[in-house]
């Protein structure tokens, strides 16, 4: 497909395309893009500090707001004191639920420090298959296919999240090695485990931190950042709201408060 090949940094037909736009805008050449994206506000470090070091009552208020908003979306939020309580709660949840497709109880979980601490391997009943998405530095197609097969067989996917936006009950998940995006998507039930300090106020705070916090800048948005606000839903038949269109039918978030 030679005709579509890139030449240097220019995409096919980019030059003519951009020239047409410049002509339409009545410009002769493009200006410096950097100035369009804004510079850090002078007090951005104070602002970041305020965001990162919220007071305990503020955190509690945000948790309450998250629970309230999640309720409107049929998303269950359960505060737990510590990781082992979360582990027990998940174990119990798995005992009480049945797979949507087939009979084998398979669970897939992110390779993530918080999820390791749940100790699920030890506590789950032996009829439950648990696969953790730990991977080699450059997983080959065989390794990826294995994970994909487990993923499709699993009825519960367990992830953590980067942030949780209280005001709209939105989990923000970035893609990392060992943390595939489909774990929050393909299984029938999405279980997420987060800590209370990951709960933030609103999108304004989210974008501010992603943009100006040097720690966040290192990772960036990654090649896939997903916002999830509740289980999958549709209203396409006579506007009747139904949960479970193509993504998870049910969503549960455990918030570690201790």
């Amino acid at each position: 497909m030679t005709e579509f090949k890139n030449q240097g940094n220019t995409a096919p037909h980019q030059h003519e395309f951009i020239m047409t736009i410049q002509k339409a805008l009545g410009k002769s050449s493009s200006s410096d893009p950097a100035q369009l994206f804004g510079t850090a506000p002078e007090d951005h470090e104070n602002q970041l500090n305020a965001y990162i070091n919220k007071s305990q009552p503020h955190r509690q208020a945000l948790l309450d707001l998250f629970i309230e908003q999640a309720g409107l979306l049929n998303m269950i939020v359960t505060p737990v004191e510590n990781v082992s309580q979360a582990g027990l709660a998940i174990q119990k949840f798995i005992q009480q639920t049945k797979p949507e497709w087939g009979t084998q109880k398979s669970v897939i979980a992110w390779h993530h420090p918080l999820i390791e601490q749940l100790n699920l391997k030890e506590t789950l009943d032996h009829d439950v298959t648990l696969v953790t998405t730990r991977s080699s530095p450059a997983p080959d197609s065989k390794e990826r296919q294995e994970i994909r097969t487990h993923l499709i067989e699993s009825y519960i996917g367990i992830t953590s999240a980067d942030f949780c936006v209280a005001g709209s009950a939105t989990l923000v998940l970035r893609t990392r090695p060992g943390q595939p995006r489909a774990v929050s998507l393909v299984p029938s039930i999405h279980v997420a485990v987060i800590t209370i300090d990951q709960i933030i106020e609103n999108l304004t705070e989210l974008y501010f931190r992603l943009k100006w916090d040097t720690e966040e800048q290192k990772l960036g948005l990654t090649n896939c950042m997903t916002f999830i606000s509740g289980p999958s839903k549709t209203g396409d038949i006579e506007l009747v709201m139904v949960n479970g269109a193509h993504g998870p039918r049910q969503m549960i978030v455990y918030v570690i408060t201790g």
Partner: protein
């Protein structure tokens, strides 16, 4: 190119008005979404003013479109994505087909995308033996039924649960059931197989971010995430105007988009996609392609009178409040874009003369402007289109729609500027109207050239005496 049926606006509108099922569905969608969206705007912490801010953000992006697209393309290429700039529908569909053929794609899954409707992508892929599966439930229903979308975000709103039940019984072989959860589950099961087997996923793009180099996709069902995660190739299509400069611009815009589209605080899923799977990742597509489409947009951009329409983020809020859409539905507009937004952009895309009925059919009531999350002045542009039809416009290749109408208005403008002539005309009118038959004190049918006025409405006869005459008489009385 999508099939253009704008010439049949009047016939299709008349048909829609006579369809009681459609009337009920349209009433329902407007009655539920229209007021809910208005309330959702009101409840914003920033209030309605956020719409004005969003307007500025979009205006800024459109004014710097050249730089923003170059930045976006560069960043996506840096992550290993491929960007293709398509000047028209033919170039975009040819690129998609080429990539599909080179990679031996047999089956694609599609997330809802208006721009792929605009370029008529499905037909071209299908003609080349590639199976296309629409995966948004509404789009899936109309694909099974062999129809076209009638609403930008609720494409199957014209179908009742009975019709969907019959369709699914026939096409999916499930027992007849009218329960929406059961029907949804049947589609979930059927499409899950497709998601897992497809070689390529297609999506649109709601609003790209130039600064970070990501497109975004928004859905409630999760079908777009499935389409862009499971197959080994993801190709996204975006109209060239669908980009903003800064990450924080999405703050106002996503909140407004979710409210405008479905009165939600936040859509169920929003994904930022900036490139293919990296070597260390376990999933995601191996190839990511972004097709940026002009297809008539640069012509709109070049005209300051219509540039504002490129601010649109396709939420369909204007459809949910429009009295014309509420009666005639989406199909009458004869093109994928319907409602007030369709009445402005369709003529600009397919030809103002060809789609003249669309802009003449809207009532200019202003409801669409009030409902628009980015405060686009659609009524102003509807009037501008009508002005072009009245006088012709060489720049847009518009010929005068009606010579006789122009002539009538020229006469009228003489009469109305001359009191004596005007009084004379009134007098003549009141004499003539005595012999015109009336029904309930209204004139159901005007004679001669005035016939058109009463084609779909009755008009009131002229008053016996004009207001000024009555006023004078009143003052003279003791």
């Amino acid at each position: 190119m999508s099939d253009i049926k704008t010439e049949f606006y009047k016939q299709n509108a008349a048909k829609a008005i006579k369809d009681p099922v459609l009337q009920h569905a349209l009433f329902d969608v407007q009655n539920r979404l229209g007021p809910a969206t208005a309330l959702a705007y009101k409840n914003l912490p920033e209030g309605l003013g956020l719409r004005l801010k969003a307007h500025e953000i979009r205006q800024f992006a459109i004014n710097h479109l050249d730089i923003l697209l170059e930045t976006l393309a560069l960043k996506i290429q840096d992550r290993g994505g491929k960007v293709y700039f398509a000047k028209d529908a033919a170039a975009a569909t040819a690129y998609c087909l080429k990539v599909a053929q080179v990679n031996q794609v047999k089956m694609v899954v599609k997330g809802k995308s208006m721009v792929t409707e605009e370029i008529g992508l499905n037909k071209i892929l299908e003609a080349n033996q590639i199976e296309v599966n629409e995966t948004d439930l509404g789009e899936y229903i109309i694909q099974l039924a062999g129809e076209t979308p009638s609403h930008i975000i609720a494409p199957a709103i014209h179908k009742t649960r009975k019709e969907v039940a019959q369709l699914f019984t026939q096409k999916l072989g499930i027992p007849y059931c009218e329960d929406p959860p059961v029907l949804t589950q049947a589609a979930r099961k059927a499409l899950r197989k497709k998601f897992l087997a497809a070689d390529m996923g297609l999506s649109g793009c709601n609003l790209a971010c130039a600064e970070t180099g990501h497109i975004t996709t928004v859905s409630n069902e999760g079908n777009i995430r499935m389409s862009t995660t499971m197959p080994k190739i993801h190709m996204a299509f975006m109209g060239m105007e669908r980009v903003v400069a800064r990450l924080e611009d999405h703050d106002a815009l996503f909140r407004l988009l979710s409210r405008g589209a479905a009165a939600q605080n936040m859509a169920g899923y929003v994904s930022y996609i900036g490139g293919p799977r990296t070597e260390d990742q376990l999933d995601g597509p191996d190839q990511f392609h972004l097709v940026i489409l002009d297809n008539g947009r640069s012509r709109i951009l070049a005209d300051p009178e219509f540039r504002e329409v490129l601010l649109c983020i396709r939420c369909a809020a204007c459809l949910n409040v429009c009295p014309a859409y509420g009666k005639i539905g989406g199909h009458a507009y004869g093109y994928p874009y319907s409602g007030p937004i369709g009445a402005v952009i369709t003529p600009l895309f397919v030809g103002i003369n060809r789609a003249k009925d669309l802009c003449c059919g809207e009532p200019l009531c202003g409801a669409c402007k009030m409902a628009c999350p980015v405060d686009i002045d659609l009524p102003r542009m509807l009037l501008a289109l009508r002005a072009k039809l009245a006088d012709g416009d060489p720049q847009w290749g518009v010929t005068r729609a009606s010579r006789s109408e122009k002539f009538m208005f020229q006469i009228w403008s003489v009469i109305i500027q001359n009191r004596t002539l005007y009084d004379l005309a009134l007098k003549a009118g009141s004499i003539i109207q005595r012999i015109i038959p009336k029904k309930n004190d209204m004139i159901p049918c005007m004679p001669f050239v005035f016939k058109g006025w009463t084609k779909s409405r009755d008009i009131k006869p002229l008053a016996r005496a004009s207001f000024l005459t009555r006023w004078k008489n009143r003052e003279q009385k003791p």
